[in-house]
Symmetry: C2
């Protein structure tokens, strides 16, 4: 009875029938099961899968597994705001497309995706759309005529260990893996009843407050969006300024090591995230920032939970400029331009990690005359992204990249 | 740090290295991941899997999935006590055997399996053994040189939503499904940290009390084993009388509808389980009782949790005889023998469900002379199991089964 009641409450919040919804053991599991089941349900149509380039890693890993198993995958790109266009999904659809996936909103930069439009054109093509609604379900139901939906309770402030998987009636779905009689055969294992009840109750509670909280958080994140570039030089705020989640704001700081900045902010009592390569175990920048083509160095993601106090945001805004300046000073970031001028200048940044290659570039760009070039040698993966992004921010011309003895050579022409 | 501490505590209880143990979202998930990963790790050796016939459904479902994917499966049978022999595992091993699975103890009848012996002979053959330790891990570590182990926290009194999967160093293991960086890539999804911490803490607490509790519960279940057949006529206690779990005792009552008996006991405040066909949605008896070849009708499984009071067991023993008698009376079970004597008698029990076919047989067996036969027509799956079991209990001769126009005809010769 508790399970039924939780299912009804969750289904009401999603906007689906209770028998379309099962509880999984996590959002990741909901995505993996949803993608595999939807693909298997339509394997006679074909094995082509469409995902956006900025999906959560659980979706991209499911796509990798599909590709490793002989399927084909199209990644749809995004603009500099992190948003896909319905046209790019339309262009990716093929006669053998079994499934398309699109997040409701991005987990790193908060950009809201045009799910309803993409769902409509998928529907016209007879292709089901799986929506990863992990970021947005606490704020409201996902609009549009989607077919499969996945979400995660801890993302809306509920307990760990509960995900939602919704499969609309009429969608062909074949659960993979060993059979299990529980949760319509879509979520094996003993139901985690206390957590499921808490998940449904918290979703209901969060939704009751969502409208009012969204207004408050939107105002606070807008304050960060506007004031960080005013108080910190050389910052790029990323993500869509309008179509965005209320509580997430992300920016990148030129000439800053994300890891060091996070430590500085942590010491001040602020726990933030980063998509910089220097904060990840893989030494590559976040695939989201990469797909957007924006600066990834010194990246800071601020997630404001419901109920965040204005004072805390004000204190963050007060602390940030000093923290960034401190890191830049430590790294020897350029403050004044050098004076020696040569037509071509080579900067050897081999073995140096983000943000050093860009700092070295910035230090010497003033050393060549307008029209002259700087060639940066770097074997850091992040340079491939950050040197063009720096050019864009600085109005310099990015000429291109070529292989070098070690790493790559990136050529930049001084324009101004 | 909490996750590391929980992992160390759980590993100590299991008797493994912390880096060999991951937390999954359920025991079922641990079994599914363990079986699939171990099979994939050795797919070059072959695709043969060995399981016992009395494994938990999660293991059997994993075996079914393996078979559906083109693998081969050998089910090793058990004796009437529910126990496998090491010899039968030795006989099932083949050059292409990738994995063998054996439970540490049976979940329905409590019989403890010879895991150490089976592990040793698997080791000699170079075949990894996966142990489903769900039933016994709270009582102590699993002995022997096993390779993979799965368990479930809620079975030892811990929270739902946590399973353990242990893969010994050196065992070839290839996790299946989409990649995930968490839990060594063996358990996708956000870690359910509160539940994991509670699981490790409860395992430690349960273990501290296990030795003393085992003595108490063993005495209480022994009391049920001895006294139920004394106070209730026509009862078969099932499972190994010696090598068994401390807290489980199971018996079957002839001429009793398991569902009705469970309701009667529930009204008296006792929540018990049953492996009878009439209590399952599939209308077939438990695969465990079936594999053991024991009576499945009127089956009752009593699970005593740690801390069970002696008075509760005494009250159960006081209530049971009346409850069974009441059900038997309702069903018209035989009390006195009939008098008409014929050499061959046909009982039409078509369309009648367990335990009616056996009741009808018992009613008329006295109507044929010694040496005469009764032919029972039945289309109930449970009759195939329960008519031979009744013959064994009653010292009558079970002649055999043949197909009839509808269902089967079961022939029984009166011996005494």
């Amino acid at each position: 009875m508790l399970l039924d009641a939780a299912r009804e409450a969750a289904a009401e919040a999603v906007g689906c029938r209770p028998d379309e919804l099962v509880f999984t053991s996590s959002g990741t599991r909901a995505v993996h099961t949803g993608v595999a089941g939807a693909l298997a349900g339509r394997h006679r149509i074909g094995r082509h899968l469409i995902v956006s380039a900025v999906e959560h890693s659980s979706v991209l890993h499911a796509a990798d597994a599909h590709e490793a198993g002989g399927g084909s995958v199209t990644q749809v790109g995004v603009d500099r705001k992190g948003r896909v266009t319905p046209e790019s999904y339309a262009g990716a659809l093929r006669p053998d497309t079994a499934l398309a996936c699109l997040q409701s909103a991005n987990h790193e930069v908060g950009t809201v995706q045009p799910v309803a439009e993409v769902a409509a054109l998928c529907r016209d093509a007879g292709v089901p759309l799986l929506v990863d609604a992990a970021q947005s379900l606490g704020w409201g139901p996902v609009e549009g005529d989607w077919s499969v939906l996945a979400a995660s309770a801890h993302k809306w402030g509920g307990p760990s260990g509960v995900g939602l998987l919704v499969v609309r009636k009429g969608v062909r779905f074949a659960p993979q893996g060993p059979a299990d009689e529980r949760e319509s055969g879509r979520a094996a294992g003993f139901e985690n009843l206390p957590a499921i009840v808490a998940a449904a109750a918290s979703l209901r509670a969060v939704r009751a407050a969502a409208e009012q909280e969204a207004v408050l958080l939107r105002e606070l994140t807008e304050r960060i969006r506007v004031r960080v570039p005013q108080s910190v030089p050389d910052v790029e705020v990323v993500g869509d300024p309008e179509r965005r989640l209320p509580g997430i704001v992300t920016f990148s700081c030129l000439y800053v090591d994300g890891e060091t900045l996070l430590h500085e902010l942590d010491r001040e009592g602020f726990s933030v995230s980063s998509g910089s390569s220097c904060t990840s175990s893989t030494l590559t920048p976040s695939h989201v920032l990469k797909a957007m083509g924006v600066l990834s160095e010194g990246n800071v993601r601020v997630s404001l939970p419901m109920g965040t106090a204005e004072e805390d945001v004000e204190r963050f805004l007060a602390v940030l400029p000093g923290a960034v300046a401190g890191v830049r000073e430590k790294l020897g970031a350029p403050a004044v331009a050098a004076t020696v001028q040569r037509d071509v200048l080579v900067v050897d940044a081999l073995g140096k990690r983000c943000p050093i290659p860009v700092i070295e570039l910035a230090k010497v760009i003033g050393d060549v005359p307008v029209g002259g070039t700087v060639r940066v040698l770097s074997d850091d993966e992040a340079a491939r992204l950050d040197i063009p992004a720096w050019c864009e921010m600085r109005g310099q011309e990015y000429v291109g990249e070529e292989p070098a003895d070690r790493g790559s050579a990136y050529t930049v022409r001084r324009v101004s």
